[in-house]
Every structure is written in structure tokens, then in C-alpha cells.
Symmetry: D2
Subunit: 362 residues, 4 copies
């Protein structure tokens, strides 16, 4: 396993879905940043399940700071952030431990870790692990704020319903107003119906999230291997259920001509900008100062109530599986804060690598 | 810059498009692997430009082994592989050094490196740098061969023309038979026409490449951060012009139900397999034994003959640019060996991390 | 700050001397290793201060496992180990926060972290941080045990009193029997007197620790940069107060001839061994199968009761300082478990890199 | 093998003693630094063997820059530096390939790499590999020069003859004036006699090197694991024959009292300094602004003309070995530039981590 990410701003995630806690340490955070539990809690609260999209299981997620803060400021030492898990009934998982859910990591984890993996609630492969990303992302966002970078994520598609493109003010204003975290209120209503229908049919449904970073400096990214696209993509694929990542015109660029897809340069207010942003703010793996635009495809969550074909790994024979208990019909909205967090963490690391955030912030 | 990739099988790329050479060192290759220049040359030759798709400039790319091989075998020491550049006329680049090509890294490199970057031929941002990936990939492929893994890549779309899905034998047999590196000969003909048309119009055209890895063991991938998807994506985004990466059902999963997208498990010849492969061979960031299926979107190359709007970075005023000289109309086919190489390098690293390739091979 | 160590067996230390806790996460530990809190507690207890050598402050150090263990075995997931700090009076530190102790990190930490560092009890620079090393070392030792490697450390010199060389059985048997952790009981008595005297005079005293690793396989170490010596030395210098590290004949080799210092090879029980062990078990940065022998010089702890010259960093003027409170007169014995731990952690990482410890242990 | 060192200023060494070349790539060097082959050659020339200390084999070491420099400045791209090896007679090594030299890496390399290692001239374990360190060190020294840091190394002991402590001007002035690279001309003469005697007796002789870094800023070092001592020690142990490393009062601190060993703080010219420098310029793993003082113990080179006991690894029986050919009687002076280089490389990396050297230098 490799549970650390970032070269200078390095996070290390630990904990399991049904273990004692989930937590994260952040190493490399500059000293002098004002930081308290409320700063982290605010971001973590965005993960709260909202009926009827997600499980109504009330996971209270109270953040504790274990280290790295003194007199209300970061100290330069590693920051450990923790959420204790509440007592959770894992009996359903015990019963089905040899029946891997199709589409889930149950099978690969069982084989890779010789059956020793903590399978309860998906263990390390649970969406709950993204709470550790969100905690670290809260710190990254505060650091990015020092240099003016703002990171936003929102749902742009669920179950085939696409949101209309919206301006920044609408994104900022609407995302937390509907349970879909969608900036387009009309699309959100339709999405809700689609989700509701899937839920009634014991099924789940996928979607798409768009992330944006604004006020980007020119020069973030360290090619040829640590490109901005490459590290952002890697960061996003750490979120369970992400199966595709694209930047700017992305997959649609495959069908375009250079004359359409190239973004002409021009000068605006004394600065070089591009007229369009098909590049999604990245040229040659380096930020060009335009907004970063990245989209992540989220597959439908594998845990569904419908009967599915699987195998009994102990008896090595076919079996059928019905997943019981409360499961999210659509995890897309709850992945939105994780997308935001992973973008922030990645940009923060690159900003530090480019020397934009000093060892001590004032 | 970060020009190294891989944790145990680590490659370090160096060199520039119009500098003295392009090269790569490979650190961590086990001792005892038979390896000669022909093994590398064979892969590098797949990058040869083929008329009329690409530039007819005859870049002779002769591979030399500088270190790490003794008596025809790897020694455990770092392997340095090099291709000397031929004398190339860079005068066109000198003339236009302050006129960044829209869609190209010219602008971001100029700003990031304070104007000191070697801009000739794109320098480090040239497609030519992928020759270093292909050289390292040749070694990775030989190592993967020891454990039975085969990596294949082929063009599946160019300029909106999609190839029909083909079987493995057709992919293996057809890819090197047409200049498009497309397994579907009929589609290849159509693609050729589209490319021809774009060329005549002084334009360029994008496409899509699919990579596959066969005979995969279960268990490659080191989540939560070094997922198989994440590291493959990062590897592929190092190839200039890649703007999107997806696995299995990828972006189409966003519109699917769980009951459609989940791959049911079953038993075949005493082994657990999945009936479908929407997961692209990866569950929870770990290989599940099914073929890896990954697709990369390639944007149209930015260098086009048509006049484009840009800025003069010295005078800080608008300017227009016509890129002269021979440029590839469609770089997709030449990116195919690079995709294959980056997949092989990534899988090789994960195979070593999983202990499947020993320090000394016999 | 960089609070992670190890490439495949990676530990990340966090926490402060007077903060809420000290803790460590271990990433890369194979699944299937039986592990409980008692395994860790046993090692941590070796750090207990023993009168009259050390402070009599009763730091109760109770280990808790927060993650990575399920049904009494490691799961392959990161293991988080924690010790909660008890309420400690930090008022003395508050009073003297602008008066750096000579020989201590107070000054460098103040400057590097802009005065935001948690100075109470030395913060991250306290010997207490080595409790995190010892916790991780307990896991490393269990893993090394699987391949037969045993790590031992003991005090060989304090305040000029040198212990006589002792056999392994005496080392194993005597070290925990005296408060000096010295294998030579006679020397231990003398050392005790020297320590007692220094204590009475309000002073502190240094010493030397020897670490040994037995039943070493041939082949651990990854030169040219990750040599066994290099990484062991780096590991040991993480222990506060270590100012020198040597292997085998070490510094005395500087005065020797090759004919004296070379260890002749011979065959014993069908195995190649060396007649002497001036190399300390390492040739070319790689273990040669003989016992690893490494020695660390420990400077006298800087916190002494005697008046010392320092500066007032706020007023920028000279000042005098008398360190109050209970401080160890000699930290050497309490550093012994830390030396043992850091050797074990380093060897464990190299054993994993050499493929000697699989992903799943049985 | 791990042939890369440094986190932000990363060098990757390759090549073998009797292979085609020895080389190094430097990744992370800022753009804009004036650099030409002469800058590198000057440092490499310091490695020249000088009669009668070392082999009179005239190894011409001509440096070539393969990449990373454009118009006389660094570009931000990886810099590849190379020295081609001349044709060398390796027949003696072929004859004795199964007879490992006592004290040499012959044995461990043979076992670790399954006999596939390039044993000719010691391959990767030759002192010749330090030429790659010296090349990279030349670049590091130029970067350190930008922030005023100067690195010096000199021989302080050979064969029991100790040099008298000398001032900086004498070190700067004398080191290149005698074949011992010793700042004390009188000691140098005595050392020469000792070396001469050892040579006549077919033996070799060890010694000690001291490295110093001047004009240090406060704050280099990233504890708890990447301490300045730890990384400097690791860097120095990469030099073949180094068996001990100490800082400031080092091993002598083991016998000292705190009141003797602590360096009192005082104010000088408005700056906080220490009255003594027992800490060797490092407190808590972080530079305190005083000169760095580090010493490395160099064992006598294992290749001696005298007959030695070894084993025939093929026949697995005892054998005797007389090493023929020209070998250095004392490698200490030739290790001096390597010590200087490794210190410079390490400090340069830490300076970049502390944000003291920007991405583009002017």
C-alpha cells in the first residue's frame, strides 16, 4: 500500500471504515498558518449524506486535531487530524465476507492481502476514506487562499442528466443548496428524479464532477513526469469510483482540428491570456494562468440491493448476492468535496515546489 | 522539473529535441536479463514517421547502450540508453522564439524557466522526448514478458472516425501494417483520408489510443494513492497531447446504472473471472486479473500551418503566427508506441512492488 | 520537515513532547503478521526512565493501536500507533521561550519556523519523539524475526567509562538488568558513579551505543546511494544527540593498513564468511552476511542545571540560563531502544526491497 | 540499486569503471545558471591521481555536457554530464572474477546480482564512480555560491599522522599544493613518507577527511528524518571506503560533560552566534549558522599487492589472492573532491527545500 501523496505537502491517510477511526497526517505544511478544528470541520460537513440521494445513516464526523497546531497556528510539525468512528454494526459484512460484491474492491483486496484485509464496510476501500482527503484538503485550501487560488467542484451530470454550464457565482452559490451539489437548479431537480427512480429499483447511478481552480499562477507543474494533468489525475483516481479524468476539451479533442482546439493567445489588462480554454488551463503539463478545468467520471456505486452473480471465494463456486443495509444510491454528490480536496492538495504541493508558499507564512 | 518515474523500476529521461541527444537511465532493472541494442531499436523503430500522416523528416534514431549491460545481460546497475540527435536546422525556432504557438508549451515553458528553456523544436516538450519512454518501455516489456504480461496499444479513433472493436490477434497482426497503427483496416483507410484532408488544409487532427495489458496477475496496484489507474494515468499524461484518460467503461459509466456497470464474478477453469470488463481490469485501484483496458485522448497537434493569433512576448503585443517547416498532421500513430511503453513501465514497477520480479532473473 | 522514513516500509512520525500525543503510522507492513498492543508496549517500556540515571518523572506511555490491525493481524493497511501525553506543566518553557538552551534545537527551531514551533518540552525535538521510533521498531523487529534477523543495542561507553566487549548471550541477558543498559555489569557500576557525580554537579554526560544485527542475509543495501551504512547512519542521526556513526573498525580504520583491516574470506559450514569483521558486516554498502556492527556517539544532553550563557532572542541581548525541572543526567540508556528500533526499521525496509519479506506473511 | 540522491536537486549516477562511460544526470537545477564544461572539468581535475600516492595510470577524464545547457546557461531541464572511459585492459579482472578481494564489494556484488555484475575494475563499486559525484558537485557548488555558501574539504589524517588545525586561508591555499590535499604542509610531508612505506610493502593505508561549509544560513535541514547530519552522512557513505562520519565534537562528545560540549550563544555584529562549535554547525538536525564541520573516516583501500586469504566462489574452496596491476596505496586524497561534492550536493538540496534558491536564478 502507498498511503502518502505529495512531494513537499505530503499527506498520509490511515484508518478503516469500521475500525476505530479515519485519520490523516500532513507533513510539510508551513508554520504560521492560523488553523483550528472548525476550519477542517466545515469542509468535512460537506460530505454529510443528504436524503434521498445517500444513506441516511447519520455518520457524525467530528474532527480532532492531534498534533501540529500550537496557539492556533501551524508549527511546521506534522498535523494529525482524526475522526473517531462510531460503533457500527458490521455483522452483515461478516456474513458475506467470502462473497465479493461485483464492481467492488472486495475481491482484489481479499487476494492481494491474503484475506487479512479489514473487509468491514469496505475497510480502506470505503468512500469513508475520502474524509481523510477532505480533512487534508481543508488545510491545502487555506494555504492556496494565501496566494489567491480558489478551488471549486460541482456535479455536472448524473444518470445522463447534464447540468447547463454556469458562471462562477452560480457555482459558488448553488452547490451547497441542493443535495446533488449541482450548480444548475433545474438539472438538479431532474437528477433527483433519476436518483429516486434508481433507488426504488434497488439500483445505483453514476455521474460526472467538474473541478475548477481559479486565479492560477503561470508555472505550476513539473514535467515531463510530474505534469499538472498527471498528478491531478493520479490524485483524483484515489477517490473510489473515479474511472476517467479529462482536462479542458478532453476526450472531445480527439475529434477536433488543431485550428479549433488551439487556444489563441491575446493580451488582456497587460497579461497574456488565451481567448478560449480548451487546454483546461494546462499547456505542456504546466499551468498557463487560465482556470484549471478537470472532469472526473464517477461510476455507479457497486453496492446495490438487486441480486447479482458472484462467487463464493471459500467454496470456489458460483453464488448470488443481495447487498443489504443502507447504501448510497448515488455517491456523486458526496465525492464532490473529495474532488475539491484532491485538487487543492495537488495544487498546494505544486505551489510549494514552485516556491510560491514559503516555509513560514505570515 | 521532475524527470524520474517509478518507485522500484525508475526511469530518468533527459535530452532535448534539438540538443545533442535524447536519453534515459533505468534504475532498478533486475540483473540477468538478456538485453541488447536490437531489443531497444525494434521498439524505437515503431516511432518512425510514416508518410503521409507524419513529417517526412527522416529522423534516424539509432539506439546506443551506455551502461548497465555486460556480456549481453543486465547487471543490476543503471542502464543508460541514448539516441544522438542529427544536425537539425533550428533557425525557424530562433526567429519565432517570442511567438508562442497556441496550444503548445512554448508559453508556459518560457515563463516557468525565465526564457532560458531550450525552445528549439520544443526542447523538452517535443514529442521526440517520448523516444526516451519507448527505450525504457522496451526493457519493461522484456521484464513483463518474464511473468507473461503482454502490453498492446493501437489507434481506435482519428478525426471522428472510430475503429471497430477487434480481437487480440487482429490487433497484434494489423497495427504495424498501416500508418495509422489501427487494428481495423477499413477504418484506417477512412482515417487516412481525414488526415490527408487536414494536411491539405494546413490543419492537424486528434484521435484516441487504446492500451491493453493481457495475462494480468491479480494484485498489482498500491492504493489508496498509488492506484493502478492513478499511476497509469499519470504515466500517460507525460505523453504530450494526452488530455484525457479512462479505464474500462470510463466516461460512459457516468450514465450507467450499477446493475449494468458491475461486472459479475464467475468461475472459469478454476479461476475467478468477471463476465464483462467494465472495470477495465481494475477494482479498488488493484488489478483483478482481467485485461487492463485504458484509453487516452490525444488532442490535435498544436503546430499548424494556418495563421493563428498569438502574442509577441517581448513586445507584449498581439501578433499572428504561421508555423513553417514539416510538422505531423496527426501525431496519434506515433504516440501509440509511447502509450505502450508507459503502460509497460508502470506495470513493471507495480509488478516489482508486488514482488513478482526478483532482483536477479534467470 | 520530513517526518517519513523508509521506501517500502515507511514510517511517519507525528506529535509533540507536550502536545496531545506522540504517534506513528507504518505504511507497507505486509498483511498477516500477528500484532497486538502488548507487542508494542513491551518495546516502549524499555524507554522507561530509571533512577538515578534519568528523570524520575513517571511518563506513563500506554500504546494504542488506531488502525491497520484486524482480528489480531496486520491487514496491509497503514498501522497507526499512538501514546497520549499526560497533562504536563509547561510553564517553565513558557517563561524561557526566548532563551535558547545552548546545544539544543531551541534556537534553530525558533528561526526556521518563525517562532511558531511548539517549544514546550522541546516539541518535535524532544527525546520523547523517539517513542514513535520505538513503536515502529517493534513492528520492524517482528518482521525481521520472520527471516531470522535479530537486532540488539547496548551501551558501551558513558562518561569515558568503556564496557568490555561481551558475547551475545551476555548482551541479551544483561542489558535490561542495569539502568545503564550495559552488557558489562562491572563497567555499569562505574558508569553509575560517573553519572551520579555529574548529576550532583548539575551537569550531564554523554556516551556511546553499539547496535548489532545477527543472522544477516547477504545482499541488503542498494548502492550507490542507498547503502546500508548510509541509510543506517541517516536513521540513527534522527535520534536527538547522536553526533557520530561508525561501522566495524570505523574511525580506527583511518590509522590502519589494508592488510590489517581487510577481512579475509574463508568457508565455514559450506558458507563464505570472513575471519574478522572490521567491515561491520557491510562491503560496498551491501550486507556480507556477518553481523552488522554500528556505533553511535551520543553527546551529553544539553539541558543542565548549571548556569549557561545564552541570548534573549526577543531583546537580542546576552542572558544567562539555568534550566530548571527534572532532566536526564544521561540520556544514553534511554536512547538504546531507539537505536535498536532505527536499525530494525532500516533493515526491514532493505529486506523488503530485496524481496525477502512478501506482501502477505503466513 | 538506488542511484539517485536528493529530493529537489536530484542526481542520478550511472556507468561503470571499465564500461563505456561514467555519467550523471542532475534534475531540478534551476534555469539561468551560467554553466560550461570548464566549470565541471575544473572540479574533476582535482581527482587526478598524483604520484606517488596513487596509481600513475593516466585516466584522462574529459567532461562532456549532453543535455540541459543552452546558450551557456542551464535551462531547467535535466543536465547529463559524461566522461567516456578509455580502453582499459580488464584481463586481470577476468582471471580473478571468482576470487573476491577481502574488504571489497566483489563478494557482496557477486551474490546480490547473481554473478551478472560488471566486475571489471570494480564496476559500480569503483572509486571511479565518484567522478560522477564530483561532476554533479560542481553544479551544486555554483548554486551554493549564489547564496554565499562555500564548501571545502581536506585531508586531516593519513596512516596515523594528524594534520594540525589550520585556518580557512591555509586550507584554501594549501590543499591543492600537495598530493595529500592536506592543509598542513609539515604533516603532508610525514604522510607522504608513511604512504611511500606502505606502497613499498605492498600495502595500503587509510585516513580522515574533514569537510566544512561556510557562510551557512540558519535553517537548513528537515527533521526528524531528513536531518542535516543524517543526509550529509548518507551522502558521504556513498563514497567507497567511508566507514565513519561525525559532526563537530563527534565521537569525543561521548566522553564529555554538557557544560563542556554545549556551545554558549552570544551576539556578534547583531547576529546570534555560538562561542564554540562543538555542534559542528548543526542543532536538532538544522544548521545554526556556524560552519558545518564533518569528518569522514576512510578505510585503507582493499586492493593490496600482498597475498591474502580468500575463497574461490566457483569451487567453494579456500584460495589465496595477490592483486596485480596499479592500485592506489592511499585513496584519501582522491576522495577529498568527492567529500566536497557530496556535501555541496546535500546542502544544495536542503537550500532548495528551504526556498533559498529559486526556480530561475538571475
Amino acid at each position: 500500500m502507498e498511503n502518502s501523496f505529495g512531494k513537499l505537502f505530503t499527506i498520509t491517510s490511515f484508518g478503516e471504515s469500521h475500525g476505530r477511526c479515519v485519520g490523516v497526517t500532513i507533513d510539510g505544511c508551513p508554520a504560521g498558518l492560523p488553523l483550528n478544528e472548525e476550519d477542517i470541520q466545515r469542509e468535512v460537513n460537506k460530505r454529510k449524506p443528504t436524503s434521498p440521494i445517500a444513506t441516511t445513516r447519520a455518520e457524525e464526523e467530528k474532527v480532532e486535531i492531534l498534533s501540529g497546531i500550537f496557539n492556533g497556528h501551524t508549527t511546521g510539525a506534522p498535523i494529525c487530524l482524526l475522526i473517531w468512528n462510531k460503533d457500527i454494526d458490521s455483522s452483515e459484512y461478516e456474513k458475506k465476507r467470502f462473497l465479493p460484491r461485483p464492481g467492488h474492491a472486495d475481491y482484489t483486496a481479499f487476494i492481494k492481502y491474503g484475506g487479512f484485509n479489514d473487509f468491514r464496510g469496505g475497510g480502506r476501500f470505503s468512500g469513508r476514506i475520502t474524509a481523510t482527503f477532505v480533512m487534508a484538503g481543508a488545510v491545502a485550501k487555506k494555504l492556496l487562499n494565501l496566494i489567491g487560488i480558489e478551488v471549486l467542484a460541482h456535479t455536472i451530470e448524473i444518470g445522463g442528466i447534464k447540468a447547463k454550464p454556469k458562471g462562477l457565482d452560480e457555482i459558488r452559490g448553488n452547490v451547497e443548496k441542493n443535495p446533488l451539489k449541482c450548480a444548475d437548479p433545474d438539472a438538479a431537480k431532474e437528477m433527483l428524479q433519476v436518483v429516486e427512480k434508481a433507488r426504488e429499483e434497488g439500483d445505483s447511478i453514476g455521474g460526472m464532477i467538474e473541478g475548477t481552480a481559479l486565479n492560477m499562477p503561470v508555472g505550476l507543474g513539473e514535467p515531463v513526469f510530474d505534469t499538472l494533468e498527471g498528478d491531478l489525475a493520479k490524485a483524483l483516481f484515489a477517490i473510489p469510483a473515479v474511472k476517467g479524468v479529462e482536462f479542458g476539451s478532453g476526450f472531445s479533442a480527439a475529434g477536433k482540428r488543431g485550428s479549433e482546439n488551439n487556444d489563441p493567445f491575446t493580451i488582456k489588462n497587460g497579461k497574456v491570456v488565451t481567448v478560449t480554454n480548451n487546454a483546461g488551463g494546462i499547456l505542456g503539463g504546466i499551468s498557463n494562468g487560465m482556470p484549471i478545468v478537470v472532469r472526473a467520471a464517477i461510476k455507479p456505486t457497486p453496492s446495490i440491493a438487486r441480486s447479482q452473480e458472484t462467487v463464493d471465494m471459500k467454496k470456489m463456486q458460483s453464488a448470488s448476492l443481495e447487498v443489504k443495509g443502507r447504501h448510497d444510491t448515488c455517491i456523486v454528490p458526496r465525492a464532490v468535496p473529495a474532488v475539491e480536496a484532491m485538487i487543492a492538495i495537488t495544487l498546494c504541493d505544486f505551489a510549494m515546489r514552485a516556491g510560491l508558499i514559503p516555509e513560514v507564512t505570515k
